[in-house]
């Protein structure tokens, strides 16, 4: 019998990846509106039902959905038991973690308390999200590790949350977003870096966020595609700010990760920063070394969405310039711009580089190597 029928559509099984991989950007979702309630004080239940979350977002109240696909996620990622994509641990295991041999999955929850104007609510929701990560995800699957989500616009509250979770092995990093009220290098955010360095935790900066500012320095773009491309510009602002405000001078052991903004822009930004710093360093005497050195010592990038030039040798050039030891593989599951692990690298990459790219860099950065 060479024809088999299926009642329901089923995802075509991926080519089973034999390589063990680390996925440094997974987005867990809440299945229902009230899933976070057990982790939130009762007063917030009523508050959220009545006032909801009010983000820093100029010109509109919240992010537009759907974004090209429902919930900006793969259409085949709906869990069979219901709920949005990414809200079911068992389905995530079945569809992604198991077949793709993900041995380390870093959770980056979105739509949390970050970027919310009511700072007290922001802190409460962030803390609830952190509890929820442990309860629903990391305590149930040891491959998954959480990110400490913090009220980014409230330095002291954010620092307190980091200190509270500092010794907890469920978490491997602190999470920020790339769009904030001010560029991330500024003083307002320094308590976060201080607490993170103290705790020995890297800080991941994920694309998007709410700051009340346009995505681009030239105004509000009209289309979703402009937003998708604009994340890389946004992240460049973040990186330049971090370096030029002297964050790495103050925190010499802090590591930071640029998440979901690509990495192809990194070499040219580095060269440009160095050139400008050569001439303008009297404006920023606290920046004692060339920017490229700080970048070398402190910065990592996740790979998704993977650079996809027409000529694959161009990709190899860019990775050489950024450094094979600076890239952390990520899929962005369950979002639609997901990178299938077996399809991202051109052929001819050395075994050592492949292992670094897919797993070892992440293990080392997050302190999980044996």
């Amino acid at each position: 019998m060479n024809i088999q029928f299926r009642e329901h559509p089923e995802q075509v099984a991926s080519i089973h990846a034999k390589t063990a991989i680390a996925d440094c950007d997974i987005h867990p979702a809440r299945a229902t509106r009230t899933e976070l309630h057990p982790y939130l004080a009762t007063r917030w239940h009523e508050h959220l039902e009545t006032y909801d979350k009010r983000p820093y977002h100029g010109m509109m109240d919240g992010p537009p959905y759907p974004k090209a696909q429902p919930n900006a996620a793969r259409r085949d990622a709906y869990p069979p038991e219901g709920g949005p994509q990414g809200s079911s641990l068992s389905f995530m295991q079945q569809q992604h973690l198991d077949p793709n041999n993900v041995v380390l999955g870093v959770l980056n929850p979105l739509a949390t308390g970050q970027g919310i104007r009511n700072h007290e609510l922001a802190a409460a929701v962030c803390s609830a999200i952190n509890d929820w990560q442990i309860d629903k995800w990391t305590s149930k699957d040891s491959r998954l590790k959480g990110s400490i989500v913090v009220a980014n616009e409230d330095g002291p509250a954010a620092a307190a949350e980091i200190r509270k979770r500092a010794g907890d092995a469920n978490f491997v990093q602190v999470l920020l977003l790339s769009r904030n009220v001010e560029p991330l290098g500024q003083r307002r955010y320094w308590p976060i870096y201080e607490a993170a360095e103290e705790a020995g935790l890297p800080v991941g900066v994920h694309a998007f966020g709410f700051g009340g500012n346009p995505l681009t320095p030239s105004g509000w773009p009209s289309f979703y595609i402009e937003e998708m491309v604009g994340h890389s510009q946004c992240q460049q602002t973040v990186l330049a700010s971090l370096i030029l405000e002297g964050v790495f001078e103050r925190h010499p052991t802090l590591k930071m990760i640029m998440i979901e903004a690509g990495f192809g822009w990194a070499p040219s930004l580095t060269w440009r920063l160095d050139k400008s710093w050569q001439r303008l360093k009297s404006e920023v005497p606290h920046v004692k070394r060339p920017p490229s050195e700080y970048i070398r010592d402190h910065i990592f990038w996740t790979t998704q969405p993977m650079e996809d030039p027409e000529r694959r040798d161009h990709l190899s050039d860019v990775i050489e310039w950024v450094g094979w030891d600076r890239l952390l593989f990520a899929t962005d599951y369950p979002h639609w711009d997901f990178d299938e692990p077996t399809r991202v690298l051109p052929p001819g990459v050395s075994e050592a580089n492949r292992e670094a790219f897919y797993l070892n860099n992440a293990l080392k950065l997050y302190g999980l190597s044996e």
């Binding site: 019998m1 060479n2 024809i3 075509v12 991926s14 793969r74 711009d337």
Partner: protein, 137 residues
């Protein structure tokens, strides 16, 4: 090239699709307004199950702000990155020469013809009163 009987016409009403595997190839059969199409259910981009995506129309424009929307239901959009594929040819809209999935000819045959053969052995019970959807691989 073999012809496979995959369903009776009643089982595949307009707007529906059926997923199956033939010779280890994942295939989907569509009925779009009475016409039948078959596609390999694998996106040439990164291997997603292409045929689980929505069927949409084709948006074209010659002037910013103006959109002509035609060919309703004839474009399938990959559930992952959203690439558009023409259900008739399997070609992607963005790079039709470079990225395409296999399109298989699908026809409707009366039961009387099917009963006679030559068709590859299948699980469908065939009766001469019905019409059947036949895909050629």
């Amino acid at each position: 090239m073999a012809r496979h009987v995959v369903a009776s016409v009643d089982e595949l009403p307009p707007g529906s699709r059926k997923f199956l595997t033939i010779d280890e190839r994942p295939i989907a059969i569509f009925n779009i307004k009475g016409e039948f199409f078959g596609l390999l259910n694998r996106c040439p981009h990164q291997g997603a199950a292409l045929c689980e995506g929505p069927l949409i129309g084709l948006a074209q424009s010659s002037d910013p702000g103006e959109i002509k929307y035609t060919r309703l239901g004839e474009i399938i959009r990959c559930p992952w990155h959203g690439w558009e594929f023409d259900i008739r040819t399997g070609q992607s809209y963005c790079e039709p020469k470079r990225f395409r999935t296999r399109a298989y000819p699908v026809s409707v045959e009366p039961g009387t013809a099917v009963v006679k053969g030559p068709y590859v052995a299948e699980t469908i019970k065939v009766s001469v009163e019905n019409d059947y959807v036949v895909v050629e691989l």
